[in-house]
Amino acid sequence: MESMPMEVQHHHTAPTSFIRKYVFSVDHKVIGKQYYFLAIFSVFVGMVLSWLVRIHLVWPNIHIWGLGVLSPTGAPGGVMSPDYYLSLLTVHGTLMVFFVLTTAPQAGFGNYALPIQIGAEDMAFPVLNMLSFWVTFLALCALVATLFVKDGPPISGWTAYPPLSAVGSDAGPGLGMGQNLWAVSIALFCVGSLLGALNFIVTTVDLRCKGMTLMRMPLTCWAWLITAILSLLSFAVLFAACVLLFLDRNAGTSFFLPAGLLVNGKLQNHSGGSPLLWQHLFWFFGHPEVYIAIVPGFGVISHVLSVFSRKPVLGYKVIVGCLLSIGFLSFTVWGHHMFLSGMSPYSGFLFSIPTLIITIPATIVSLLWLGTVYGGRLRFTTSMMFGLGFISVFVTGGLGGMFLAQPSLDIFLHGTYFVVGHFHMVMGVAAIFGMFAGTYFWFPKMFGRMLNEKLGKVHFWITFVGVYCIFMPMHFIGLEGMPRRYSSFVNDAMQPLMPVHTFMTIAALTTGAAQFIFFFNLFWSMYKGAKAPDNPWESTTLEWTVPSPPPFDNFGGKHPVVSYDAYEYGVTRNGKDYIMQTDPPGQPASS
């Protein structure tokens, strides 16, 4: 009998050529940074687009420099048309949801830190890892290309609801080539995410070093594992939906198109399909996607709050259980995005209950974070500030969710700015705070230099106050009935609320400008920042046992052995208040 070969250790040697080292690299650390910069690019473009739409909302006739060159039809003379407003909104949403919130927390930080934190030399499938990134890169190229094709990006929004997204260019700008590119982009993104998810799960299961039991993993690793499982199960459905959408558009099928559809006076040659089918498939992906964006943030926040409170995470096992139950429940609630679709009240009830149940694990996790901080010896680093800020924006945004979870309220609120305020706060801002906390925390390890803390705090305070100024008023004008998705409100009943819009636009421009402090800090510190020690935050996990930045194989050929839990803070041992996971086993520490 031939015994099973051991094929897990990857003894690839460090590459020397520029291309293999920085471009087509199989090193998880380089790929993590590639994903990170892909997200930085996307968030920059997405932010500029949000400025443009916010400016247009308040000053519909303003000339925006350069816009007329980018799209002579969409913005003749630099004045945005209502259609072009929707086109830019589509790109903003798609970029932010897919290429920022899905890539940076999971594929960016996860790729960088997961293998080191579990004591592995690399991911389980390094070549597949490289492939995931480049497929995602192609997806981004396809999406950005929509800005430059004739008619511009599709006007159908990031959710691409049919019939609008499926009928073709008769229905409006961007629904020809732009929508095709969108479908290709998202299908490619699904493939990249699926390959990445598979890699994360195998890595976590198979490559943990000696002594790294599941319950000794840092919560970040748990969060990445659970997110990977959600990705694996949900992107597969979106992939199928994109294929069907592509066929409807290009092969004449009618999966999402009913009979007798008149579009701009032209009878469409389709019959037998259902627009609701897309909504089911899309939201079966779409709701887990919300947690794909936020759960890595949960992991990072649990992690940094413990490090900077010098206390063990309160209720480690409970947090793991809550993340697992949130992950499970996220697959049972997709219908709460479809309360307006005319579903049976019984179905609405069925989807409403698990939606409300999700607030229980989410609340428990939030309280455990407060409990972790309570009584700690807090160190107010920028990372910690964003960690605390995360709790604030997550809870604030989450409260709005309890309104929207009830069909009776949602039927009124769904089409208003309340929803915009809610999901930007709870999914967008909270996840971005998680990314900022992660950036300020791991930057020393990733680039071998420290970020400037003073600039970091200025960045934090402007951002923290700014996001409340942008997104809190949206809740209130939503309650007043201000509808979303409109490009401007001229001479109508909404006029009295326009000063609030002006305020939010100014807040958005200011908060956006403050992000340049971050970008400057990031790129300046990369080359000019103070040299980072191996363990600047006096943290316990494995990435802080290796040099900053770590060598190609992470541990310099050594195999770490773990003897302690991930959060042994608040102890007294050898003059330190923490025990590294890899410290040699000894007497239980006195606390």
Binding site: V205, R208, A236, A251, H270
Partner: protein, 217 residues
Amino acid sequence: MSHSSGPLSATAVHDGRDLPVWGGGALPYAVPSKKLGMWLFIVSDAITFSAVIFAYGYLRLAAPAWPRPFETASIVNATVMTFVLLSSSVAMVLAVRASSLGKVSGAVGWLVATALGGVIFDILHIREWLGLIAEGVRPFSNPWGTPMFGAAFFTMTGLHMIHVTIGVVYLLIIAVGFGRRKLSAVDVEVSGLYWHFVDLVWMFIFPLVYLLSAKMA
């Protein structure tokens, strides 16, 4: 199949407590990474197929009428295709067995036989597609009304046919690699997982697409 005794049996003493600690580095559940990776791929691919099958069921149930055009000859053809595909799965089992026993030429032979089954399946399937196309079936219309019939048929069987074709190429690559002793028995077994999965999907498509649309006497 033999599983090495596995590092799970190890226990280690850490900070005064006895903890079940596997040896680290490899095979915590005696599943090689490649095999686990393939299982996870199969999970996600099964969900993609499920979504398409769900779409088919959703639209078919909503349609006032759905064509049942498949004559006995079509059903016989599809049954032969099913038989060929299932036989190729048997050949795959024998390939995995031969490879785990270290019988290189036997494993390569069975792998090629499996791939051949896939090729025959594809040929029979394409012949049938061409027949239906000649009858006027298109993704957007067909002679029996309810245009979605053609859309669902071509999408589901086409997606499956792509999987079979990729599988044939995959099996031949594995056969060459194993023949040259560049690949291990695990690689053969992993390719087998994929092949059996593709067969299993057909066992859903055959009744849902063909038998449910067989012409009633």
